[in-house]
């Protein structure tokens, strides 16, 4: 009875470690083979039983939601860093795009949707998508007010921008280019030029 506090803490730490391994395994498998992975595979790669997964995640879908959210957390840090580099809206926009591009390259789950059933408004891109959309919209609106960016609904322009940063697109570009940094900059330039004010 006396050592229960320490044991409890110990167990909680084990649990914590287990969950990290589960998430890591799920992330890897998800990136490798998409939604086709089975819960058993995740459990095996994580070195736990399936029951352990179901203890924390009430369903397979919840597990994958958690994977997406974890990817988002990582991305947020990168974005915050990128946003801090400058206060000029257009430069900041470029930095954000480059940062997102890089994240996207390594996080297949990043902007993927649970069941991307076409037509579904897809705020289901748990967490990050809406946040990113807002972030980009605001940056675009700011650039527009300074006259540096073309007019047009910032929401739509942000949507277009995000499309170019989805992992499949990013991977396609990077593979064609073979130069990750160059590709990131090329995408950023394409977007920024598309957004810049013009009399066209």
């Amino acid at each position: 009875m006396s050592g229960s506090g320490a044991a409890g803490r110990r167990e909680r730490r084990d649990m914590q470690r287990n969950m990290e391994r589960v998430l890591q395994a799920a992330r890897e498998l998800f990136a490798e083979r998409g939604a086709a992975v089975t819960v058993s595979e995740v459990a095996e790669r994580a070195g736990v039983g399936v029951g352990t997964i179901y203890r924390r995640f009430s369903s397979k879908e919840h597990l994958f939601t958690a994977v997406r959210q974890a990817a988002c957390s990582d991305a947020r840090l990168q974005l915050a860093a990128a946003a801090a580099t400058t206060h000029d809206p257009v430069s900041r926009l470029g930095a954000l795009i480059v940062a997102l591009y890089r994240q996207s390259l390594h996080q297949a789950a990043l902007l993927d949707s649970p069941r991307s059933g076409a037509g579904i408004p897809d705020d289901a891109r748990h967490g990050l998508y809406p946040a990113l959309h807002t972030l980009l919209s605001e940056a675009i609106a700011a650039g527009q007010q300074l006259g540096h960016l073309r007019p047009g609904d910032p929401a739509v322009l942000a949507t277009l921008t995000l499309e170019l940063l989805r992992p499949p697109a990013v991977q396609r570009i990077s593979q064609a280019t073979g130069d990750c940094d160059g590709a990131a900059e090329q995408v950023a330039r394409f977007v920024l030029d598309g957004l810049r004010a013009s009399d066209s």
Copy 2:
């Protein structure tokens, strides 16, 4: 040993109609819920038995491949018409983009891939994708040679352009705007401005 000519012709016409209904049903369901649809669902919506589907398509995957190809056929016609409107490379590019946008809006399968396993480069977008990519690349290269479009690998720029024309993106934009034509033009302008030569 062979039925009468008239009966044979009639039967063949019925068969034809059935297959169109199957493809239409598959197209709709595919658009609604992605590759998760079951063969039974397609059969039910088409008003036929599963056996009828399996008579023409040796597997579920063959059915979906056919759906993609049918979408491609429709799209090709639209594209040919759009390409014929002008010889100016940039104008033609704009027309292609608008035409693709409209097709994409109604053909969820248009640019979808057979098994979009994340990480797979996915030029497997059977049939249309490579053709579109070539088409856009050539139009972009032509515009570049005239000095009307920015320099840069035409292939990469075509890839970026196609990303903006995937059905999910298109649907998202159209829903946000509520104005299909306006949305199509906005996307076209975004792309063209992104492509236009600049000293940035």
Copy 3:
């Protein structure tokens, strides 16, 4: 109205020919691949539609029953010829065995049962089996009464004899030997020696 008699006769002859082709096709396929053949395959090889088969045979099982019976008809002719060669019971038994062996070699369906569910008394060996069993039993009983064959229930001894004449057994023997006639005689001698009276 006037030519109907001739037309009817002609149709009946076509029908007859069709049925023969169906039976022939079924016999071949049955011999080649056992009960795994589908009705469609039989129809295709026979050059008719499945409906034509179902017009004459109310089910797949009935078709195969007919195949067995046709095989039996052929066999009966051979057996009658063999039985006519001699009146000595033992010689006649030998002739019957050799004749059956040869038939069996070419009629995979000959002694096969529809569903040989072990434990089922299997009078289902439509037609031929019971007849053969009676024939052999009588020949054995006759030999016993002359003191040329060992005592013992003729029915059991006939059963044992028939086991050695099933197509799989016959094929195995013939393949090992490579000499059909020699094999037939070897089997006949084995059986006859097993049946001959002895003081063992």
Copy 4:
């Protein structure tokens, strides 16, 4: 990450019991209705779900292969015992035949083949058949060298002998006789007399 040792052992014992029940159910159904039994039926009779069967046997065919092999294991023990009773080749042959007869009566799968496609020579009778054939061939050859058995290819004679010991034959005999032991001896005598040297 691993359950307690005791629990693990207990679980493994349950698993073991389950598999025995599955094999027993499969054996019974196989004997009753041949290869036509479904996996669901086996599962139901065993009192388990189909998944439990598929956990151990990767396909229906693997299950039936296991049934055959289990039957073989049982049979081998009986045969070893029978072979040990005497060194006289002919007596030993008789003992083997009687032992096989008894086994065969209760193991419908004993000499059955995986896919008995008519015409297939079917030495594919996994495991036991070749072993039995060798065993009998050797016993026959030994008897021949002592002059106690007729001349002739021992392999062919062994084949004939095995034909008489197939479960359907055995069951037919036993049912007709109603006396298992008597029937076994009658078969053994038939075979031995057929094999004994003679000047016929």
